[in-house]
Point group: C2
Chain length 276, copies 2
């Protein structure tokens, strides 16, 4: 059904900025043969404060751009864009597209034993109830407790992931969550896996952390395999297996990317996303 050119095509991954790199990193780990074209919409970050219409329009533009890069599948590595745009763009575009909300929610529902799931994320993710509505779609009996943690992203971007200040902020955010008796906690923001060890320590052994970045990479692996689209690892003409594009100045993106990816990025291309 698919030609070898299709199988050797890259996977498109996009986010409003650098956060989705934690998803790209998991894809590199789970499917090391796959090429990746990453797009970070740094000119229009953050998506969390924007309307559904606006975010959907952005996602459509980015997918049109990724199509010019001949990708074979697309991962929306952004919670807001997954919640707002996935349904619409899945109908509009013929290419298979997956988001981070569904794999994360599904894993949490499979993990919880007492039916109490916590979700931490940005103000926008929590107030939109995107995780709880998908979890309730899977199992309406489950109790979902969402806590916004707006300082986590700037703390991670400051590089203070193992810092006493971050610990104090996290203790405060998580205090009310610990009292609720949840046994499963979704890291509902792509930056949060970088706080994983701190969160594990603060929440204790009785709570299992669910990382949607990891679950999404697994879902992509299954999708590619079920459609015969997995890259067999044949040599291609591609010089770089991972290519990075942004919509505005690349400097900060590069520094952050190099701090979390397993290798140093050489080039990042700036494109005018409004043209797509």
């Amino acid at each position: 059904m698919y030609s070898s050119a299709d199988r050797e095509a890259a996977v498109g991954v996009f986010d409003s900025g650098v956060g989705g790199l934690t998803v790209a990193r998991e894809i590199m780990r789970q499917t090391p043969n796959e090429h990746i074209v990453y797009f970070g919409d740094t000119a229009r970050i953050p998506y969390g404060s924007k309307s559904k219409d606006t975010v959907t329009r952005y996602a459509e533009q980015i997918i049109r751009f990724l199509e010019t890069q001949h990708v074979k599948a697309i991962v929306i590595a952004c919670n807001t864009a997954s919640a707002y745009a996935l349904e619409t763009v899945s109908k509009e575009f013929p290419i298979p597209i997956i988001g981070v909300i569904e794999p994360g929610s599904r894993a949490a529902v499979e993990t919880t034993k007492n039916g109490k799931i916590g979700v931490i994320g940005t103000e926008g993710t929590i107030s939109s109830g995107m995780y709880s509505s998908f979890i309730h779609h899977l199992d309406p009996e489950i109790e979902v407790i969402g806590i916004p943690c707006p300082l986590f992203v700037p703390l991670v971007e400051e590089g203070w992931t193992k810092d006493s200040i971050t610990r104090e902020v996290a203790s405060r955010y998580l205090a009310s969550l610990k009292d609720t008796g949840i046994d499963t906690l979704i890291l509902g923001c792509t930056h949060y896996p970088l706080l994983r060890s701190l969160l594990i320590e603060l929440m204790g052994d009785s709570v299992t952390l669910v990382n949607p970045a990891y679950e999404t990479a697994l879902e992509l692996k299954k999708l590619l395999s079920s459609r015969g689209l997995g890259n067999p690892g044949i040599k291609t003409d591609e010089k770089e297996p991972y290519r990075f594009f942004v919509s505005d100045t690349a400097q900060k993106f590069k520094a952050f990317a190099n701090s979390i990816l397993p290798y140093d990025i050489e080039t990042i291309k700036k494109i005018n996303i409004e043209e797509y």
Copy 2:
């Protein structure tokens, strides 16, 4: 030279989001007769990570929008937009336009006795060197020490202005600045006046804080008076002396605005700024 209609026209004030409200607040205090049309570019915040061309294009669109509101003068209540766009838009538009960098820098140069001025701001403001280049334009002998404080904006937006965590973050950011022997410190971000008392306490009596929001309101007052444009306080048809516009969802804007303005905002209108 100016008709009474001109004198009764509003002052346009804009920022990438809510931060410029500290400038609007100073204008309300310094020139209580003046009407204000405020625009917060919440759809495209933050400006700090965007290029000069992009920010200039945004400023041009906003000024075209403010012209439709018949404003008599415009205040760019945003550090990045002041630094990147003021020179260009001042040439392009006939209306008087002032920014926050020049009044803040001028006040700091007049204040310092030992010729050592500190500047705190976002990553974008500090790395662009916008304050130091204007200060050096006024006096090339002055030493300017800039320190980025990227967590201050999210801490202020979290409402933690008098919090032990904010104190610890501020102590860390300001530690190296205290050793430099500065006698003047510019609050180079529109959110920072909300941390004023904490910053005064941490920096001690030997350092004078300069608030560009306050200096800009004074400059506007002088400008209006010198051009005979000050509103004499004649009754107008305007129902609301202060009107607020944003480019995307207004909810968070409203909550923050109500926490810092001397009265509660009733209505905030969302407009499509890309159309201007």
